[in-house]
């Protein structure tokens, strides 16, 4: 497997799409921070939160890179070459997973670094305790590795490069929008203020009324758990400064990674590589 990893990383450094995604992550991270700073200079006092605020962009760029990188293996027929020289299928799968995750983490590191350095140059501060920042960064790292497992499954099991790209991008979009929708549903207050007009024509405040849009009970717990388990949900929560069960999120990411890797590797072992 070392040879496979060496080959993958050698290809990674020469892959145009990887460098384009790195440059885009750098540019978007810098642009977002400078835009926030121009509107609200005090945001430089919260560099930690600003670093984490580009999480959904990072996931998008990581998906583009993963789809193009893994799709080339199929379109150029190099998977068969790897099998012909004696590599085992599960080693090929794992080396793809490691390379994809490494690429995603590098993209994230570039985005974080540009915000941190720019913010520090502008006299900013991290703005959160070191332990809290370390935990949130660990959550983001775990989420990127978990989502890389999803991308690896799609990229290794589908045969057409363009189909891989289309399905990966659409899945990323659906996951991100889904996470945002779930957060907006959970954000609804349980009670809303109401007013009524008395007989004298005066408007008085009445007791708060139950909000019909509020989701409670079992449904709420299910939605919370779904958004805590989904890598996109975790990244969205870090971006919004939330983190309901922050200590459990790395474990959820580990679970997603294990599940998708086991399923993907098992199916890939039996796949007919035409």
């Amino acid at each position: 497997m070392t040879k496979l990893l060496n080959a993958n990383f050698a290809r990674l450094w020469k892959t145009k799409s990887f460098w384009v995604c790195l440059i885009l992550a750098f540019g978007v991270g810098l642009a977002n921070f400078l835009t926030s700073y121009s509107v609200q200079p005090e945001c430089a006092e919260r560099l930690g939160a600003n670093m984490l605020s580009n999480s959904s962009n990072i996931m998008f760029f990581a998906s583009i890179f993963a789809a193009l990188f893994l799709g080339t293996d199929h379109s150029d027929g190099t998977i068969r070459n790897k099998l012909i020289v004696g590599h085992k299928r599960h080693n090929i799968y794992l080396s793809n997973l490691i390379t994809t995750a490494a690429g995603g983490l590098l993209i994230m590191a570039v985005s974080w670094t540009v915000v941190l350095i720019t913010g520090l140059c502008l006299g900013g501060k991290i703005g959160m305790p070191a332990g809290e920042l370390a935990l949130k960064m660990l959550i983001c790292i775990g989420a990127i590795i978990a989502i890389s497992a999803v991308f690896t499954l799609l990229g290794t099991l589908l045969s057409s490069k363009s189909t891989i790209v289309a399905i990966t991008l659409v899945s990323t979009f659906v996951l991100l929008i889904g996470a945002a929708v779930i957060e907006s549903l959970l954000d609804q207050p349980e009670y809303v203020q109401s007013y009524e007009m008395t007989v004298n024509g005066e408007v008085v405040q009445t007791d708060p009324q139950p909000n019909p849009m509020y989701i409670g009970g079992v449904k709420r717990e299910i939605l919370k758990t779904v958004n805590d388990v989904l890598p996109s949900g975790q990244l969205m929560q870090m971006e919004m400064g939330l983190g309901r069960h922050a200590e459990l999120m790395p474990l959820y990411s580990l679970g997603v990674l294990a599940a998708f890797t086991v399923v993907g590797a098992s199916v890939f072992r039996k796949k007919d590589l035409k």
């Binding site: 789809a67 363009s162 979009f173 008085v204």
Partner: protein, 273 residues
């Protein structure tokens, strides 16, 4: 052009991609409508089917764009465009035939979406809006699909690499969607808002100017941008909030003609390796 279009239709009928796109769109819409109906607390008669059925408009347009790019991109990747030119096909005719094929794909997927939305009829009944209003919404959906397909067609035909075309097309589609969503939100503010002040224990309501209201030339510019955006109408459709369907239809028509003319002009000069 007729022969190229006929060949495209023949390929489309056999295309697994197209069949899957249509079937998955109908199933996804039906599933989302039924899930929405199940989530209703209380009396179902208070809810309108069209609110659930039309909510997926932006995603359907993106799915149409992706399908058009993948289908037309095959011509580039398999080098069949050169074959069409070798046997005497004119570039303008090939572009027009491909663009019409893209429009057929977009309209078919949109029709599947509208049909899938009818899955909620047993629970919520038929659309509550009038027949003429429903016709306007359906026409706007189709016009949006035509504009999106016309915008996706040149991406599939001009970018050599099929996967590259998908990346560029989908990224552009998402960017246009976010822009349209942002503009729509900015235009949604009321001109005046009610503010409540607690004066000596009494609540006093006053109508004040909304500082976030966009008016004048800026509003006209935003409305023009929204009409010109191929995905602009899909945001209003998803909220059942078509304020100016005529402007939407005109915008879709203009963008279809403009993008097609530009695409055909570039395609005529493109070096087909």
């Amino acid at each position: 052009m007729a022969r190229v279009f006929g060949a495209n239709m023949f390929r489309l009928r056999k295309s697994r991609l197209f069949r899957w796109a249509v079937v998955l769109t109908a199933l996804a819409t039906a599933g989302s409508v039924l899930l929405g109906c199940l989530a209703i607390n209380g009396e179902t008669s208070e809810y309108a089917l069209e609110n659930r059925a039309l909510s997926g408009a932006p995603f359907v347009m993106i799915a149409s764009a992706a399908t058009v790019i993948l289908f037309l991109g095959t011509d580039n990747s398999e080098r069949t465009v050169r074959n069409k030119i070798i046997i005497g096909g004119r570039r303008g005719g090939i572009y027009a035939a491909n663009m019409l094929t893209g429009i057929v794909i977009g309209c078919s997927i949109t029709a599947a979406w509208l049909v899938g939305g009818l899955a909620g009829v047993p629970i919520l009944g038929w659309w509550k809006m009038s027949v003429s209003e429903a016709a306007v919404y359906i026409a706007s959906s189709m016009a949006s699909a035509v504009a999106v397909s016309a915008a996706a067609a040149p991406v599939g035909m001009l970018i050599q690499s099929r996967s590259g075309a998908v990346v560029v097309g989908l990224t552009a589609a998402f960017a246009l969607l976010f822009c349209a969503s942002g503009v729509y939100t900015r235009l949604g503010g009321q001109k005046e808002i009610m503010t409540a002040d607690n004066i000596d224990g009494e609540l006093q309501f006053t109508l004040t100017e909304n500082p976030n209201y966009v008016g004048g030339i800026k509003r006209a510019a935003y409305e023009l941008a929204l009409s010109a955006n191929p995905l602009g109408s899909s945001i209003a459709l998803s909220n059942c909030d078509l304020k100016d369907p005529a402007a939407g239809l005109a915008g879709a028509g203009f963008m279809t003609v403009f993008i097609s003319s530009l695409g055909a002009a570039v395609f005529r000069r493109k070096d087909l390796r």
